[in-house]
């Protein structure tokens, strides 16, 4: 089946978690749950800030070194956006369960896919942020993440936004970036062979997709702007809908 590049999300659907989100894009589906702030065992507690625990669980098999790597990227990133100093000596648990990955024609039967584990990073980041928003966790800012693949053969060069797994694997270089809603770069994972110019072009492209300059609170009418592919707009509309539903009674 053809995976949709358009993101979709379901919010606050797990009843026992404080916040939850199911996010799908590009054939990846991730279910995220956030619990916290809750009690933390003494030996782990930090006196000045909340402990963040990130757990990435693969759809099939048990987590290995790749999941730990993703967890460490997520951990250092989420620590930057969660207001950890608001909850000293507490724990914030973020559990991300991957439930669907795009079919890989070559390794269709393989339990653990050898590489390309980075391809799922944008989905993981986005799910984590949406689940945190659903949990009403105080955040400094939100982040949005986009992956871009560059296909270059000699002279011509093509940038593909939200590449499919196939495009991801055959690209000459792939770039995953996440920006805050203020347009600051928070995560960069670039791989392959590329030049500084390539990278800068990707940087600007992703920045534009993650961040709209006119994204002002008073500017609700998005006139003349192609909201397609703009992750910030997506998060905004998804959350806006949820808030409107939650506060239907609120005049």
């Amino acid at each position: 089946m053809v995976a949709s590049k358009e993101p979709s999300v379901l919010l606050s659907h797990l009843h026992r978690a404080d916040g939850s989100a199911t996010f799908s894009q590009n054939g990846y589906t991730v279910i995220g749950a956030v619990n916290g702030p809750i009690e933390v065992p003494r030996r782990h507690e930090l006196p000045e800030e909340a402990v963040i625990e990130v757990l990435v669980r693969p759809a099939a098999g048990v987590g290995g070194t790749r999941e730990r790597h993703l967890e460490s990227i997520l951990h250092s990133t989420l620590r930057q956006i969660i207001l950890v100093h608001n909850f000293p000596r507490h724990l914030i648990q973020v559990t991300l369960q991957i439930t669907n990955t795009p079919e890989n024609k070559n390794t269709g039967s393989k339990v653990v896919q050898a590489g390309s584990h980075l391809a799922i990073l944008p989905a993981l980041l986005q799910t984590a942020v949406l689940a945190l928003l659903s949990a009403s966790m105080p955040l400094a800012t939100i982040l949005t993440s986009v992956s871009i693949a560059i296909h270059a053969d000699g002279k011509s060069r093509k940038l593909i936004t939200h590449p499919s797994l196939k495009e991801f694997e055959s690209a000459s270089s792939v770039h995953i970036m996440a920006f805050t809603s203020h347009g600051e770069p928070l995560v960069v994972e670039s791989q392959g062979t590329f030049t500084l110019e390539d990278w800068e072009e990707v940087f600007e492209t992703v920045k534009a997709l993650c961040h709209a300059e006119h994204n002002r609170i008073d500017d609700n009418a998005m006139q003349g702007v192609d909201g397609k592919g703009n992750m910030l707009e997506f998060v905004k509309s998804a959350m806006g809908e949820k808030v409107a539903q939650d506060l239907h009674w609120h005049t």
């Binding site: 070194t65 620590r79 600051e184 392959g192 500084l196």
Partner: protein
């Protein structure tokens, strides 16, 4: 630590030696809270409040005297008013008590002539000197010892034979399809022919106790090495293939003594692969594990000599030739070099909006404990035009386009320095 900001002008360097030997902490007015410890946030707030509003302010003044420890050498005006209650700490104690202001004091010297220097005496963009020793392990097919400052890594590579008949999903027709044809079959990746493994639990640092399961950092580093090995296409897959050319019965003279043109004949088949087990052992760790580990892997890969292996149809097994002459080196695609830099922010709190920061390359453990944002760039300058092979960053928002440009430039410099050693 608002008090630090106000009193920073009293940071004075000794005349002959720029390197601070001893820091003297002078308390002006009031009594020192005992036991002395890092004030909690609440206390800090109150310190700041009193400092700004009352005359009995708690001010910490910082002196740096030369290693002779003559306190009177440069008395600051503030300190000289109440010299009787001076509390002096050795440098190490001060670094432990309040590491963040300590490092900042070094990077933000008061006198205009002094250049920002890190606590370890290096300039922010100065790397530690690398030392590399190749082939010191006899039983490994390739090995290297890399020392960068106090970080020492041993890397040993062993090749093991993986028979295609043992590969569960092996298909002869798949191997024929070249990877250039779309999202091709990359056997090095699919068959896991490169197996890096990092061992940190060697007692290399107090943070990693020996004989425990691999820490998160070790798993994290292994994954980084693993994906870099694949994403750079460093190895030629032909190097890892073991072919078999069935003897041409019509021409009995031509046995498999010469395998140069075997690949052209359709009858030849891949009988086995070399799987390279890359074990990376940290002997000591003082920051920047990735750069050192990667340099060790590169150096060891360059050092690898795989014996000539061939399929013996009678015994139905792979045999290896003992002679060194027939063994082959790996042909590596370029010479990637990794550099890591951290961002040190003037304010301790992660969420502060303060734009003051320093980029510190090749950090040591002390610096790593004080910085959140880290950037790793892998470049290959073996050809004319620099190829960037990987950029990763996380943990902060400081490094943007411009900063990255500078870091890439630093990486290029470092690359030339390291390449000469790696190639030498």
């Amino acid at each position: 630590m608002a008090a630090w900001v106000e009193r920073k002008q009293s940071l004075v360097y000794g005349s002959d030696d720029w390197l601070p030997r001893k820091l003297v902490l002078v308390r002006a007015g009031g009594t020192c809270p005992a036991p002395f410890q890092r004030p909690t946030k609440k206390q800090k707030a109150s310190v700041a409040a009193t400092a700004s509003s009352s005359t009995r302010a708690l001010n910490f003044t910082l002196h740096i005297t030369s290693h002779h420890g003559i306190k009177s050498q440069s008395p600051s005006p503030m300190a000289s008013t109440t010299p009787q209650s001076a509390l002096s700490f050795p440098r190490e104690t001060f670094a432990k008590l309040s590491p963040h202001p300590y490092l900042r004091a070094h990077l933000q010297p008061t006198s205009a002539t002094a250049t920002p220097t890190r606590a370890n005496g290096r300039s922010p963009s100065q790397f530690r000197t690398p030392h590399i020793n190749n082939g010191s392990l006899t039983h490994a097919d390739g090995s290297a010892v890399v020392r960068i400052g106090d970080t020492t890594v041993v890397c040993g590579i062993r090749g093991e034979i993986l028979l295609t008949s043992k590969v569960p999903g092996w298909r002869a027709d798949k191997a024929a399809a070249e990877p250039s044809s779309g999202a091709g079959y990359n056997e090095i990746k699919e068959l896991d022919l490169l197996v890096p493994n990092i061992e940190l639990a060697t007692g290399c640092s107090p943070a990693f106790m020996p004989v425990i399961p691999p820490s998160t950092l070790a798993q994290d580093l292994s994954t980084k090495i693993y994906s870099l090995l694949h994403s750079t296409n460093l190895l030629d897959r032909e190097d890892l293939r073991i072919w078999y050319q069935p003897p041409d019965l019509s021409d009995p003279d031509r046995m498999d003594d010469d395998s140069e043109d075997d690949e052209e004949t359709s009858a030849s088949e891949i009988k086995a692969f070399w799987a390279l087990y890359i074990d990376i052992l940290f002997i000591s760790l003082d920051g920047n594990p990735f750069d050192a580990a990667w340099a060790a892997v590169m150096s060891a890969l360059k050092n690898v000599r795989l014996p000539k292996a061939y399929w013996d149809p009678d015994r139905e097994m792979i045999l290896c030739d003992d002679s060194v002459d027939k063994s082959k080196k790996l042909s590596l695609n370029g010479l990637p070099v990794a550099i890591t830099a951290l961002v040190f922010k003037a304010k301790e709190q992660a969420q502060s909006k303060d734009k003051k920061y320093w980029i510190l390359v090749d950090p040591d453990t002390f610096e790593e404990s004080l910085c959140d944002e880290s950037v790793t760039v892998v470049v290959d300058c073996s050809e004319k035009k620099t190829r960037i092979l990987s950029i990763t960053k996380s943990g902060g928002t400081i490094v943007g386009r411009e900063e990255m440009k500078d870091i890439v430039k630093l990486a290029e410099q470092r690359s030339t320095e390291l390449s000469s050693i790696l190639n030498g």
